[in-house]
Symmetry: C2
Subunit: 662 residues, 2 copies
């Protein structure tokens, strides 16, 4: 199958360009040009609009060269969006149930993941999460297409998705962490780091009055070890670093020059706790009083050594480096940064750390060399109230670049440029990096501000968080879609805008209101790096990716009864279930061992049981188990909800739950 | 704001067309044509691909002229997709919870709808449904843009969505109905009809052994009265018609010439019940033995009279016309139709009823005039085993048209043509209607078969189910996306293909793999017909669309305690909650009365509580109530999950659940 090529000539081509390259399906250049301009004209498209439409088109049978892995925000999922077509190709449920994919509706795989983790009592009632910062696994600082990690901002959890089959394999609720925000992976996927957002009492029951906020509440940075074989998070090889009760916000990992360090922004160093009903300042006021908050600089290689030396405590099952140890052992340093920043982003070379000020029109640029020098020379301006050494801002500062109102997040194009989103300006400012990033002509200079539609949050460039960005496209994740859509009622979609950044001036290509979720952040990967399964080996249990002990092959289907337990060994194949009759008596426990025995790509089936809230989806080769107590008498027609064949309407069977004694 | 104009010149424009119409943003025609053809060439687009890209482009700031309301299949939702851009503009949760929109996560509106209906004991455990056939409300046979109805194929429910705010207002679980498939609205929205799919025992407990299938199981056609004022379904003004235990499949309503009649296809007139483990034929075999099944012809005007005359029984709270009465009173007639059909579709003029044969290469065309004549003349070939008179197929038949393998569903373009989807052929056949539809030249003739990508199910044309289709575009809802996407793992998205049907030969324009759901059917409406709210009047309870008795205005926020009940009257406004501290003691019942006091379009907020599974979303002006027992001790930072302002991170507060005696 032909793949798309993105030669990317930009918008500057003028009349008279040689048209012979157009290929055999074109007639003469003039004829084609006339046909296209006539269509554009009849359709009311300007020249720029028409050019953009051609640049973003992915015609039937061709493929998007990039996939964007976008968080779903309070949808709780991760989604795959093709770039440049911006089509929503897949939704991967993570923290919430999803009946389309059968996740969390009765089969052991999804239910097991959702109820997993270190605190099932916490997970049990949860039907949603707020998926925030997707982080693709990396090898040598580049996305390797193997795994994806994402945090739950609402409930302080972390999840691992296997890109072999695009399924969530693991959810862990993070001890000592009530919520979370910044989430990032180290350059060789050593760790997935999650920083708490709102601090949490360190009391045994997790409660403390707000009067004791400064004394009893603490922040937390969790470093989850990633198994290099399976990608799973390994809590017993992980550790946490206790932090001051500031609100730790976004994070990024050092790479190359800054490898071994992690950086976490914070706000509310004022320790405001609200109280607006008592005329005290609400957090938006109380937490914005100070002119400076603190960038947290974490030496995670040093933390590893301290943990290995046993200088930790156990707290709710996790190894925790106490704040005092983190401060005294050189794990944690603070640097003043303009108040209430949002994003911290490390340049591809690792030399510069870029802080987006949010309430400051500048981005603030620190140098890892300067930071290292300050630490080595113990060049401190003192300590915070918790004893953490503070590096003077000037000692770390390279410069500031004025970018505009409300800077939030910065991405890089790999060609020496940075792009910072401006929430208040609804714009993106392109600016140049400095000499250590290879820019000596006009370093750290404002280049251009380009408008985007209302209120951009994050932005994403292919490879934008890696050592090697691929700066062809940029996606602006805009939060308000006012005027971009109409007649959809009071609830608006968010709006994704695609820009061409391959030429000197970023150019708007398309606008995609997206109505199913609010993607908070996204990473974009070249699809060449992905190599997922096409079908499962026969009888695969996706929880383990090995053959299920309950897998059934054609001809081996059976029903076994033992007391009140009915074991059903069933297969699914176009267009029938075997068995297609499941007799039971009310009160029985029914255990249905399902195997999709198709070996044809795309031949997915479901096992869907009316009134019993069972909706299991099985891809070709997949084996799942469904167990439930039949507590409702009746004749229930289970069926395949997937439109799998011409006779899909006939793909059903009967669960017959007889009353006792019938 | 400029709106798109679809002049629709088709693909036949040749070189030399006058380019002066292109507007001021173009340069000379040649220059523009050169620029466009150069971009197309560099991008590897053929002339047809490039033309299609231009025809489907909806650039930033312009609007889709059509919205497709597509069911979500086992996602359980309804979604709004812009045509021709095919962007997913909105997901409306219906039968499943949805944390993005806050539906079913603790606020009274969504939870109330989900738990509503006639059988809360049945609804309570359900977290999903299989939304199948969306039906827009109609006035004089045309979509009027007011309401939308949809059935739950899995659990036999029906829902009503108000297009004033695109929210699900009502779910009813249909008595005497275990599942459902065909769902359609009468031409003046008198009724929403849902036909059962798998029959259900008429026994009190809903159970009967399969040996008694013919005697005790029955099908059902439900006619829900629609309130002309509110659009709500009114069960006490509704009725059901008991049907034979065939599997009633898709349905359509008569219109104009056939107004007053309804038509329902069926399969499994063999009464097969499976038993493959005992070497009996599975339903796909057993239910396909007969060469003919039965079209059900229902005279619903006659049914109204019979019900008004009291000739019904009450069964589980519904007025039910017994099968014997339906047969004897002229309400129900059967007509043989080629075995296991899927779609039945009435032409815009109402004269012809088109049956798609599924296992027959023809569409079969009946005439309402012939049917009426047969009924008037009691021209029957006998009765089925349940006493229902059977009109001979020849008496109703106009003709058959050979369309290809696996015909499923037919739509009309309003210009005398029909389009039938072919699942097995993966194609659409265009054919002509007959003289009563204004076609006298080559009536009932095959015109052309156009390929679509694998395995089309339904298809949709704007206004395609109305008396006045708007035949510019056609969407093919293809079930398999093999080769259309890659590297997404074993689970494939479905694929929506957009075709131009404005010229003589349907032309493929775009392919949109859609990864969040399996849209089963869709209706497409011109957005001119929609006039939803932009914001709610201050303090609106969306359940009633009147002012909430709990609405709070700025300055009136308060906390009232009475025993173990804490009433919190709260407002949400960028970027704070008032109050931002909610103290409670474990075991308290907390009732939080929330009002979004924004009057700015798009200023949506959420009230999200960690660990408590609370996720309420409030659009501007909206008032909701959240009530829960605080059974977990701790300090929980509730927050707004919507990226609502530059200080959205600071929009949080504290729910403080103290232990008893603290």
């Amino acid at each position: 199958m032909e793949r798309r090529k993105f030669i990317g000539i930009g918008g500057g081509v003028v009349a008279g360009v040689a048209l012979g390259a157009a290929g055999s399906s074109f007639g003469s250049g003039l004829a084609t040009g006339g046909r296209l301009s006539a269509m554009a004209a009849s359709h009311g498209l300007s020249g720029d609009e028409a050019t953009a439409a051609l640049q973003t088109a992915v015609p039937p049978g061709k493929y998007d060269p990039y996939y964007m892995f976008a968080s779903g925000g309070h949808l709780g999922a991760v989604q795959v969006i093709g770039v440049p077509s911006m089509r929503l190709l897949k939704v991967i449920p993570v923290f919430g149930r999803d009946s389309f994919s059968g996740y969390g509706f009765g089969s052991d795989m999804g239910d097991g993941v959702l109820l997993g983790g270190s605190d099932p009592a916490k997970n049990a009632p949860l039907g949603w999460g707020d998926s925030h910062h997707p982080a693709l696994s990396e090898t040598a600082g580049q996305y390797d297409g193997r795994w994806l990690y994402i945090n739950d901002r609402a409930n302080g959890r972390i999840a691992m998705i296997d890109l072999a089959d695009y399924k969530t394999r693991q959810i862990i609720d993070i001890p000592n962490t009530g919520s979370s925000h910044g989430m990032v992976v180290t350059p060789n996927s050593e760790y997935a780091q999650v920083s708490a957002l709102t601090p949490r009492p360190t009391t045994a029951d997790g409660y403390a009055p707000l009067e004791s906020y400064a004394d009893l509440y603490r922040g937390c940075s969790s470093w989850y070890h990633i198994s290099p074989q399976t990608g799973r998070l390994v809590p017993e090889k992980s550790f946490q670093i206790e932090l001051p009760p500031y609100s730790q916000d976004l994070a990024d990992m050092g790479k190359l020059a800054s490898y071994g360090f992690g950086f976490i922004n914070s706000f509310n160093t004022e320790l405001a706790v609200g109280g607006d009903l008592q005329k005290k300042p609400a957090p938006e006021v109380g937490a914005t009083k100070n002119n400076f908050d603190y960038l947290h600089v974490i030496d995670w290689k040093q933390a590893e050594k301290v943990v290995a030396a046993g200088k930790y405590m156990m707290r709710n099952g996790m190894r925790v480096v106490p704040l005092s140890v983190a401060a005294s052992e050189g794990i944690l340093h603070l640097i003043p940064e303009p108040r209430n920043p949002h994003g911290v982003d490390v340049t591809p070379d690792g030399h510069y750390i870029v802080i987006a000020g949010k309430l400051d029109p500048h981005v603030t640029i620190f140098s890892i060399e300067k930071i290292k020098d300050a630490i080595a020379g113990k060049h401190y301006q003192g300590k915070d109230r918790y004893g953490v050494p503070i590096i003077p801002m000037d000692a770390a500062l390279v410069t500031q670049v004025e970018v505009g109102a409300g800077p939030l997040h910065t991405q890089f194009d790999g060609k020496g440029n940075a792009y910072t989103s401006l929430f208040i300006d609804s714009a993106i400012t392109k600016w140049t990096l400095g000499p250590k990033s290879g820019v000596t002509d006009k370093p750290f200079s404002f280049v251009k501000k380009v408008p985007v539609h209302y209120n951009i949050g994050h932005l994403a460039i292919p490879g934008g968080d890696t050592v090697k960005p691929d700066g062809k496209f940029m996606v602006a994740l805009n939060k308000w879609s006012l005027d971009e859509v109409q007649k959809l009622g009071p609830s608006h979609p968010v709006n994704l805008e695609l820009l061409d950044i391959n030429s000197s001036s970023p150019k708007l290509l398309s606008s995609t209101p997206l109505g199913n979720s609010e993607p908070h952040y996204a990473q974009i990967i070249n699809t060449d790096k992905l190599s997922p399964l096409k079908i499962y080996a026969a009888g695969t249990d996706p929880a383990t990716m090995t053959k299920s002990q309950y897998a059934v092959t054609a001809g081996q289907e059976r029903i076994e009864r033992s007391g009140n337990v009915v074991d059903v060994y069933a297969t699914l194949m176009r267009s029938h279930f075997t068995p297609d009759q499941i007799p039971a008596t009310v009160g029985d426990t029914v255990r249905i061992h399902l195997t999709n025995i198709e070996a044809t790509e795309n031949a997915t089936h479901t096992f869907s049981v009316p009134e019993y809230n069972i909706q299991a989806t099985l891809d070709p080769g997949e084996a799942l188990n469904v167990e439930f107590t039949v507590d409702r008498v009746g004749s229930f027609a289970f069926y395949c909800a997937q439109f799998c064949s011409a006779l899909h309407m006939e793909m059903y069977g009967w669960l017959l739950v007889a009353p006792k004694g019938a």
